[in-house]
């Protein structure tokens, strides 16, 4: 098939070692399937910013119950998508020099400590490609606060702040 596939946006910068495919993402996180929610990292600019993709499919197990006959990606899982992208950004900061990414020690990505001011503005359903973006807003020692955005087809789907201790 040569058409109608999801359009993958490529966003490059000189400091970026991205894009990372799903296997490379797994190499940078302590998470393992079925609890890996990032399919690709498009932009990685440690320590400031990362952009990633989550492709939503009806095969994901939670859609059987959330909700029967009306599949909607749970907001907590969308939040987890952004937390994992922030985890990749932190891991990249710990292990990379610009343009050269080495494998991160799994488990070094940090723990989610606070979810602040999240708003979910539209439903995310199977077939959607979610663009995720996290940007470092504040940092005090091991505590980082990220501004997070999720969008589908350039429409904002969710936004908020995540605090991660790493």
């Amino acid at each position: 098939m040569t058409e109608a596939g999801p359009v993958v946006m490529r966003e490059r910068s000189s400091a970026s070692a991205a894009p990372l495919d799903a296997d490379q993402v797994i190499g940078m996180l302590p998470h393992r399937p079925p609890f890996v929610f990032l399919d690709r990292v498009l932009t990685l600019e440690p320590p400031a910013r990362a952009v990633g993709l989550k492709n939503v499919t009806i095969a994901e197990p939670w859609f059987a119950g959330h909700f029967p006959g009306q599949a909607v990606l749970p907001g907590v899982l969308l939040t987890e998508c952004m937390a994992q992208l922030a985890g990749v950004l932190i891991a990249a900061e710990a292990t990379s020099v610009p343009g050269q990414l080495s494998a991160a020690p799994s488990g070094a990505a940090g723990m989610l400590a606070e979810i602040k001011h999240f708003r979910f503005r539209r439903r995310i359903v199977p077939g959607d490609q979610v663009r995720l973006e996290v940007a470092l807003k504040n940092r005090v020692g091991r505590v980082r606060e990220f501004s997070c955005d999720a969008s589908v087809d350039r429409h904002r789907a969710a936004h908020g702040l995540l605090v991660i201790v790493a």
């Binding site: 606070e114 504040n138 940092r139 005090v140 091991r142």
Partner: protein
């Protein structure tokens, strides 16, 4: 320093301490009355038992309410509400006499 000036300075310090105690309770959602915190009570450890996430919240709060930027290096300042007030006044002595 004359007597009137000393009184004004003391009142200013108390006002900043009071604002800090209120900010700590509000921003950290502590289940206590702001007046229960004393100005020399340790904020971390066995004091209010705040953690590193709370530290960042306090730093952001102080920046927003007092326009003073603290960092993790300011550990002495986080010893107590009184010390935080001193640190804020070091940067913004004018706060002492503001209405």
């Amino acid at each position: 320093m004359d007597y009137e000036k000393a009184l004004e300075t003391a009142a200013g310090r108390l006002r900043i301490c009071s604002q800090l105690r209120r900010m700590i309770v509000d921003r950290l959602d502590l289940p206590i009355d702001a007046d229960w915190i004393s100005n020399d009570q340790p904020i971390f450890g066995r004091g209010l038992e705040l953690d590193s996430v709370d530290t960042m919240e306090l730093i952001l709060g102080i920046e927003s309410e007092f326009e003073v930027s603290l960092t993790e290096e300011d550990q002495v300042a986080f010893g107590s509400v009184g010390r935080l007030a001193e640190r804020i006044l070091d940067d913004r002595p004018a706060l002492l006499t503001l209405p």
